[in-house]
């Protein structure tokens, strides 16, 4: 991946300040909303629960009252009827008519009425659905209704579905009292309670709430929908908490709202209300959905509000943090550009008065300092680099000059080449070389570059040592001297031949503790000779000085060698001259037969060879048709004789190989002769030494002066073979 500056500048949105601030504000808002909302909802829920309970209780009370009234109404009718004073004494036909009348008048209330005597036997029985013939009547003495009623109490039975009518009914029985208050019979009735539920259904429990009736055994009794009643009639409703409570606590029990799954399979809040005058209770169930509708709605509002809050807070937080982080981002971009090397990158936001402004200004300051630092560094580096280059070029130049200088042993050539090389390599205007003369008074210009150099050489340019010249000063002090700007140095002597000189330096040529002379280097650039240049030039000058010294020494040693050689050659020539004086004509000739003395033979070509020291071809006819060759015989450069040979006349001329062979052989001959001479010489010397030794020892045998003198005279005479020997001792006084 290419990690350019732009990719560095890119902050992943998850990590960006804007996102974080946005999320933070969302969290804060959501937390606040949720906290407040939950609190409000809780309060609302409490209020709603209370109000739901009250509302339900009210509905339950209404239903209970309605039912109570209904039942009490029926009981009241019957009581009124039963209290008819003559009822007990009426004949059956009249009783029947009276009952039928009641049935007609309360057609929707009573479906059956009967009068029982005090033994429980039916006296009269009328029904809406059947006409009872006398044979249909019987005893009902065992029925609870009769038992209870005959004891003087009102009996209200449980609800049942009448077989005759299919109506929900209850049995109500009450006693018939005679005038004295004693029970003479029982009035029983089947009371239709179906109609009741049409009335109950009119009482609303909210929009979707409902009520149903249970008896004390927890059996389902009635409901406003006949269908439900028909399906559920008699069902055990104990599983409903209010029913269980009613069964446990009875009519006097506490009423309390409970939440459970109700009759319709929905979660409901339910409570029961006992019905006065009966052993029933109304159970009112109100679906939670509706009861807490407002709270639920509030919850949704809260959710909506929270979402809205999230969006708004997120948006605002994002915008705000964008607003805050934008300058930071801009600043970051600047920093990154600077980091990437763009020191001229614009630093933004410097005019702000806030912390970012402070940061930006600090940043800009840092940028400025960096810039200065960086540019000076650059300059330094370039300077150093230039120095280094110059230094290395100087070193190269001085090495070259040094190499050239040391390879030349001839003084004049060395000096001439060195100055040219220096000028060329160090790119100078002029280079001149002075050497101290034998007198030590003058520095003589020995070489100079260019026309100016030749001109000055020609006029024998010299400078006095210790004089006011730079060269003079330099030689005197054995130190380099620089005139950075020629003309400013008081010591410098302007030279007419070098008009363009702007800066100048004098370098001593030092070797083995002596100052041989000095180099003058001149540049047409001002201040050309800085430390580096001077160091390089001095090194070079030292090498040149050593080379000069070497050349000087070499010349001296050459001269010494030559002198020695010359001296030895002279000795050899003298020795041979001595020898040849003793044996003047040493000459031998060899032919096909023998070696003979050839003292008489001396030919012109031989003379020529002796004189010139070179091999001479002879062509003279006097010797017959012979090709002669005269080869000089040399000993240590001195010709001591000539070797002549010739081929028969019919033979070819001497080939160079043959000549060379002859010369070589002749040279060997010379060397052999020299060796022989030297041997003779040595022999002679050894003999002399022995003689001296013998004489000396003889002379030292006695310590007496006379004796010594006598011995000496005798010995000298004996040993040296001389005719007479005299020794006389004298003093200066004579």
């Amino acid at each position: 991946m290419n990690e350019g500056p732009s990719s560095q500048a890119h902050v992943p949105w998850r990590q960006s300040l804007a996102t974080r601030l946005g999320l933070t504000s969302v969290l804060i808002v959501v937390a606040a909303l949720v906290a407040v909302g939950v609190g409000l909802i809780w309060i609302a829920l409490q209020a709603q629960q209370e109000s739901a309970f009250q509302s339900q209780k009210k509905s339950g009370d209404k239903v209970a009252l309605l039912i109570s009234n209904y039942v009490q109404g029926a009981v009241g009718d019957l009581q009124l009827f039963g209290s008819i004073e003559s009822l007990a004494t009426m004949p059956p036909a009249e009783k029947k008519a009276a009952l039928e009348n009641l049935l007609i008048q309360r057609q929707s209330l009573f479906s059956q009425l009967a009068v029982l005597d005090k033994n429980g036997v039916e006296e009269v029985k009328v029904s809406q659905f059947h006409t009872f013939l006398p044979g249909d009547l019987g005893s009902r003495a065992n029925e609870d209704a009769f038992v209870k009623a005959v004891s003087g109490q009102t009996y209200i039975g449980t609800v049942y579905v009448s077989r005759d009518s299919g109506l929900l009914s209850i049995q109500v029985a009450l006693p018939i009292n005679a005038r004295g208050g004693q029970v003479v019979g029982v009035l029983t009735s089947e009371v239709n309670v179906s109609r009741l539920w049409q009335e109950v259904s009119q009482i609303q429990v909210g929009q979707t709430g409902y009520a149903y009736l249970v008896d004390v055994n927890g059996r389902f009794v009635a409901y406003h929908e006949p269908t439900e009643v028909l399906q559920r009639y008699g069902e055990d409703m104990r599983r409903m908490p209010p029913v269980a409570e009613f069964m446990a606590n009875g009519p006097e029990g506490m009423q309390q709202g409970r939440e459970y799954v109700g009759l319709t399979g929905e979660r409901v809040i339910g409570l029961y209300v006992p019905i006065q005058g009966t052993d029933w209770a109304v159970v009112v169930e109100w679906p939670v959905r509706e009861a807490y509708a407002s709270v639920t709605r509030m919850q949704w509002y809260l959710v909506g509000l929270t979402l809205l809050g999230m969006v708004v807070a997120g948006g605002l937080g994002y915008l705000m943090s964008r607003h805050l982080s934008r300058p930071v981002r801009a600043l970051t971009m600047s920093a990154q550009r600077i980091g990437a090397g763009d020191l001229d990158a614009e630093v933004v936001e410097v005019r702000r008065q806030d912390e970012i402004g402070v940061l930006a200004r600090a940043f800009r300051q840092m940028q400025g300092e960096l810039k200065v630092l960086y540019s000076s560094l650059e300059q330094q580096v370039s300077e150093r680099t230039a120095d280094l280059q110059r230094r290395s070029s100087y070193l190269l130049a001085s090495a070259e000059v040094g190499r050239a200088a040391t390879s030349i042993l001839e003084m004049d050539r060395l000096i001439g080449q060195v100055v040219e090389l220096i000028r060329e390599r160090f790119k100078l205007y002029y280079v001149g070389l002075f050497l101290v003369d034998e007198s030590g008074q003058w520095a003589m210009l020995r070489a100079g570059t260019g026309e100016a150099g030749r001109a000055m050489l020609a006029r024998g340019h010299r400078l006095g040592i210790g004089s006011g010249s730079m060269i003079g000063w330099c030689i005197t002090h054995a130190e380099a001297r620089v005139a950075l700007e020629a003309g400013k140095d008081a010591v410098r002597l302007a030279t007419a031949e070098l008009p363009d000189t702007r800066s100048e330096a004098a370098l001593p040529l030092r070797s083995r503790g002596r100052v041989l002379g000095a180099l003058t280097v001149q540049s047409d650039r001002p201040a050309a000779f800085d430390e580096i240049a001077m160091a390089a030039l001095q090194t070079m000058a030292d090498q040149v000085a050593v080379a000069l010294d070497n050349a000087h020494l070499f010349a001296e040693s050459q001269a010494a060698l030559e002198a020695a050689r010359r001296a030895y050659g002279e000795l050899s020539r003298e020795a041979w001259g001595e020898l040849l004086r003793v044996w003047p004509d040493l000459a031998y000739r060899s032919d096909e037969h023998s070696v003979s003395d050839a003292r008489d033979i001396w030919r012109p070509e031989m003379e020529e060879a002796l004189q010139t020291g070179k091999t001479v071809h002879g062509n003279d006819e006097h010797a017959g048709a012979k090709l002669s060759l005269a080869v000089p015989v040399r000993v240590r450069g001195n010709v001591i004789g000539v070797l002549e040979t010739y081929k028969p006349g019919e033979a070819d001329d001497w080939t160079p190989e043959e000549v060379a062979l002859m010369e070589t052989l002749t040279e060997q001959l010379g060397m052999a002769l020299e060796s022989a001479r030297l041997y003779q010489d040595t022999q002679r010397r050894a003999m002399q030494e022995r003689l001296i030794g013998e004489v000396t020892s003889r002379m030292r045998e006695s310590l007496d002066v006379d004796r010594v003198l006598q011995t000496a005279v005798r010995e000298f005479g004996e040993k040296l073979g001389v005719a007479e020997v005299k020794i006389r001792l004298t003093s200066d006084d004579h």
């Binding site: 007609i104 479906s111 809406q128 299919g166 109506l167 028909l230």
Partner: protein
């Protein structure tokens, strides 16, 4: 990133839409073929009441056939009425069982059941199974006084009978110059007789007429009612209001003739409206007055009667006419409901409002159910057997002859 996210969302949405589209469409593509409307018909088709049951049934069959022949139920794509029959045998328990069977076998509506005693448990079953029950005949008041929501009664209820009987008696002075003061009640002792008698007594009390005797009897298996008749006659009434079934009505007529009684006898459309009454009694049947729910002599009754007679070989009766009307009511409700859903059908039935015409053949101005499901406009008129024919004599607007009194 961002873009690709957006792309995926859009893509997902498109995919979801594409997936849902055919699913959403298949529900609406082809209209369902017209399914038949299953109608349960519940009558006593065997036993003592078999012939009366058949009469009821014929009314239903004629109406259903005519409707099907005319293209069925238009709102249901021409669905035909498919009749399924249940035989109550005149027994309440059997009736309840048969009602349940019919409902469980798919009937969306029941028609029946002629007898009040059977109609009560049968409607209770229908209520329990939330199935509409159109009562063509079955007059006990309580049938529409139980707060049921699925019971609709086309015919008048018992109160109307007692009320109209008494009403007729009070008009007898005007109609035939025969004022009635003393009234004797003679009725069978089941629900029919009892509830009608109660209505009679209530109406008589309100009209200020005197009940001089009330005699009940067990109609079923009765072979002789002369003592009951004599008991009535002993009270010397001006007129007798009877509530009968067929057999006992014949016995009563015979007993009265035997006793030489010659006073107006008004039946509550019981046994006296049956063709057998005339057939068995012959001349003895003459001048018998009875309430009637229907008469071929009523306006428009002729054509219906002709069609009925052509098909079944007998005159149309109140039972078969109300059975016929019950089917018309069902047809009207189905057209308005546009559905065989029982709840929708119930609601349509509850808002039935028919005026006299081809869809309302009853001799009343309207047909409309009250909150209890009772046709509150149901009314009765009085016919008299004159020359073996039931001739309307009251009220005046339907009367085609004058009341004839035995002299």
């Amino acid at each position: 990133m961002q873009m690709s996210n957006k792309f995926y969302h859009v893509a997902a949405l498109i995919i979801v839409v594409v997936l849902l589209f055919p699913a959403g469409c298949t529900g609406n593509t082809k209209p369902k073929p017209a399914e038949n409307v299953k109608v349960g018909v519940l009558f006593p088709l065997s036993g003592d009441l078999a012939s009366t049951g058949a009469d009821n049934k014929n009314g239903v069959v004629l109406a259903a056939d005519e409707i099907n022949a005319a293209g069925g139920i238009k709102a249901l794509g021409g669905a035909k009425l498919e009749l399924t029959f249940g035989d109550t045998q005149g027994n309440p328990d059997v009736g309840a069982q048969e009602a349940e069977r019919l409902i469980k076998e798919g009937s969306v509506v029941l028609i029946g059941a002629y007898q009040s005693s059977v109609t009560k448990p049968a409607t209770q079953v229908a209520e329990q199974f939330k199935t509409p029950f159109i009562v063509n005949m079955g007059i006990a008041d309580v049938i529409t006084e139980r707060g049921f929501q699925y019971t609709f009664r086309v015919c008048p209820k018992a109160q109307f009978y007692g009320r109209d009987q008494v009403h007729f008696l009070t008009k007898l002075a005007d109609l035939a110059g025969y004022p009635v003061k003393r009234v004797a009640l003679l009725h069978e002792n089941t629900d029919f007789g009892t509830s009608t008698a109660l209505a009679q007594k209530k109406a008589l009390q309100e009209s200020g007429l005197e009940i001089v005797a009330e005699v009940s009897y067990v109609a079923e298996g009765a072979t002789d009612l002369s003592s009951e008749v004599n008991q009535v006659l002993a009270a010397k009434p001006d007129a007798i209001l009877e509530v009968t079934y067929l057999n006992d009505s014949i016995l009563i007529a015979q007993s009265l003739a035997k006793a030489g009684a010659n006073l107006p006898l008004v039946d509550a459309a019981g046994g006296t409206v049956a063709p057998e009454y005339v057939e068995k009694l012959g001349a003895l049947a003459e001048d018998t007055l009875t309430l009637s729910e229907y008469s071929k002599y009523a306006a428009g009754g002729k054509e219906l009667n002709d069609r009925f007679k052509a098909r079944f070989g007998a005159d149309i009766t109140g039972n078969s006419a109300y059975a016929y009307q019950a089917v018309l009511v069902l047809k009207d409700a189905l057209e308005r409901a546009g559905s065989v859903d029982k709840e929708k059908l119930r609601k349509a039935l509850a808002t039935t409002d028919l005026s006299r015409g081809s869809q309302m053949i009853l001799p009343s101005e309207r047909l409309h159910f009250d909150a209890q499901g009772q046709n509150e406009y149901a009314s009765l008129f009085v016919v008299q057997i004159q020359d073996k024919e039931q001739v309307p004599v009251w009220p005046a607007e339907f009367a085609s002859a004058k009341v004839r009194l035995k002299k």
